[in-house]
Structure formats: C-alpha cells, structure tokens
C-alpha cells in the first residue's frame, strides 16, 4: 500500500479529464490524475502511482531507478502488482 509505483501515461481517457491510462510494469490500468491538476500530465510523462492515484510527476531517470528498487522488493512488489492488475476504477 505504501509503495509508489512509476507509471507512464499512455493516454488521458476521452471525456474523463481525471482519468488516464498508464502502463505500469507492462500492465495497462486506469489511474486517477485528479491530484495533479488539469493539464499537468501528457502521454509519455511518468508519474508515481499510489493506490490508484498519481501523486507526483517524476522524470524518466527517477522512474527507472524506482522500478529497479521495487524489483528488488520481491513478494511485496509482486503482491502490489497483482492487486493493481485486478483494479478497475473506471
């Protein structure tokens, strides 16, 4: 729950300015971008995702470093990704 997982914005969902489709570790899921402010992110941007919400915008280097750190966590990260893949917030 405490893990912030980097995700790359794939698209802002049509007609839903608060939702974006992001790719997180190969999984595409909708996440809420309402905490970042209108127009703050575009496709190709990276965000740190906490429990379905983008909490902050990060750069690609930070995203890569965080993903490597998460990979090293083992089960905790696997559990979080499994939970994420079952998530449907649209």
């Amino acid at each position: 729950m405490c893990l912030g997982i980097p995700g790359e914005i794939v698209e802002i969902l049509p007609g839903r300015t608060d939702l974006a489709r992001v790719e997180v570790a190969g999984v595409r899921r909708a996440i809420n971008i309402g905490l970042l402010g209108e127009g703050a992110v575009r496709p190709g941007d990276w965000v740190l995702v906490h429990v379905g919400f983008a909490m902050s915008k990060i750069d690609e280097a930070e995203a890569a470093a965080t993903l490597a750190l998460l990979d090293g966590l083992g089960q905790a990260y696997a559990d979080e990704l499994e939970a994420l893949s079952g998530s449907d917030i649209t």
Binding site: C2, L48, M55
Partner: protein
Amino acid sequence: MRFVDEYRDADKARALAARIASLCEPGRRYKFMEVCGGHTHTIYRHGLEDYLPESVTLVHGPGCPVCVIPMGRVDDAIAIARQPDVIMTSFGDMMRVPGGRGSFLDAKAAGADIRMVYSPLDALALARRNPDRRVVFLAVGFETTAPSTAMTVLRAAREGVANFSVFCNHVTIIPAIKAILDSPDLRLDGFIGPGHVSTVIGCRPYEFIARDHGKPLVCAGFEPLDVLQAVAMLLRQLAEGRAEVENQYARVVPWEGNPRALRAIGEVMELRPHFEWRGLGFISQSALRIRDAYAAHDAERIFEVPGVRVADPKACQCGEVLKGVLKPWECKVFGTACTPETPIGTCMVSSEGACAAYYNFGRFTRRRVEEVTPA
C-alpha cells in the same frame, strides 16, 4: 540501466561512507531516526549500516501505517465486517494484522465477506456494482494515502453512492514525531524525513523540529545512496552547528507539497481530538476522521462500532520497536514466537515493518555484534 547505476554505484557508496566518517566528530555518538518504514526496508535490504561508522546509529521510527494500528481498531473493523450485508474492503497489507480476536483472514475464514482492493476507488466501484450491499473501505495510512481516500469520498458523494462508507484510520506524521521528541526514552540527533508523505505535506511542517527542538531533518529518497546522502547531510549540519530542514529528495518532493491533495484531505476530513497508536499510546490530534458534511459515508456513524481498547500481548514489544527504543532483534519474541508467518505484533506483519524487514534480510549475526559492543 544507466539511470539506476547513478543511485546504486558502489564507488559512490564508498565515497559517501568516507565522507560520513570524516564528518563525525571523534568521540561523539550520533542517533538518527528514519521515520518511514520504506527507509527501514532500504537500510536492511542493502546492509547500509555496514557503510556507517560505529558511532552512527540509525533508529527505526513509527512510519509504518499498518504497524501503528492498535489491535482494538482491527477488532472494530471485524465487528463492522460481520454486520448484515456488509462487504469489507482493505489493502492487502491489512489482511494478516492481528486484532485481539484474530485477523481479517481469520474473520474471512469464519464467513465474513472481506475483500482485498488495490485502491479505494475499487471499493467504490464494488459499491456501485452491488447496490444491495453495504461496502466499507478500511482506510489506513499516513498523508500518502489519505488524499486518495478523500478523493474517493468526494466522488461517492458527487455520484450519490449511498452504500459506500469509509472506516477512517488515517494518521498524521507530525504528531507522532512530536510524541517521539517529547519522549524521555530516546535522545535523537536528527531525522531522516519520510519521502512519500512529504510529496503531500511538503517540507514546511517539519520546520518546528529544527526551530523548537534544534534538530536537523533531511527528507530523503528510498535508494541506498539517497539514505547515505541524507546521513551525510545531517552530519554536515551538526558539524556546522546548524539545525535545518533540507530536501535531499527534491526530484520528487516539492517544498510546498501537493496543495490539491492537502485540499482534498481538508475538505473531507478533520483532526480527531486523540487517537491511539500502537506502542505510542494516545496522541492528541494525530489522526483524521470524516467531517460532518460527509457523515453519510462515515462507517463509524453508520455502524455500531464496539470501540474496545485491547492491550497488546505481553510478550510483544512492538511499542518499543516503533519508538526506536528497541531494535527488532532485541524483542523477546523476535524470530522465535513472532515470525512473518505467525506474527504476534504488527511490526512483523507489514513488509515495511522494522521486524519483518530485519527478519527477511537475515542479519542475525548483528545480535552477537551488539552484545560485545553495546551502543
């Protein structure tokens, strides 16, 4: 992986270790608390204590939201889950946390409808799909997760999802740090500030620690080099006679935090007069509850909540571990009666709990080292 190397480089770690050693005043001992469980995890996983001189001790703080939930609140959540038509939802981390009469997993096995969700928004979606059921989300976490709960309540209210409510257990980090600063048990020289909490609250709320208590705080990232650099920054402040709030994690943490997230929390939640923390006892104004305006989504007003206080098991020393008074391996039941498979205390349940982190990375030799060289 060129990006990653920047934060992992062994040469850089050694260079930082040398710098840390050179900043230490001979004969002086330093105790820094890392507030956040994520940092505890990094410290044990990467054996960062091996990079520090013997005079520098890292003390683990209360920053694991799963670990600080008192047993009585778990029992309350189970009591709600057992009421008619209820679907209780929770993050996976909470499933094995023991209450006074078992965990969520036990209650589920006994027939309660308890489901794991990734996001509070998943719980809201479940409520929409099951209009004849009452869906409750067990909200836990510091300021990192509170905005998500708040945004979900706002959405439930806007959409009129009347069968969705929140059992709110959100806690706030600043009062916990205050309680530790006021505790006579522990003398600290500085703090490694939490990374993700600070993306929401920013760095300003920590200023009292420097101003009123004369202790430096450095907000830090979660990479091994981040933590070492934060230690070096703390030592440099002490060497120069400064006590300030510094931001090592500026690449993620804005000084002012996330104003939208803070607004969402403020709109939906207010401070409770007091809240019980595991190990720290009752701390005034240290937790959040749902405001009157959103009472329709507040599980504590919708359901009968027993609110019974349950004392921690006698053998369990999570309290001392959470306050940083004891190291995990100094607890009487660590690794024997209390393991991640059969946890007695919360610190062994969550992967960010100090005990679980220490247990999983198998640094059992430490006990012998400590016995010959007491701190």
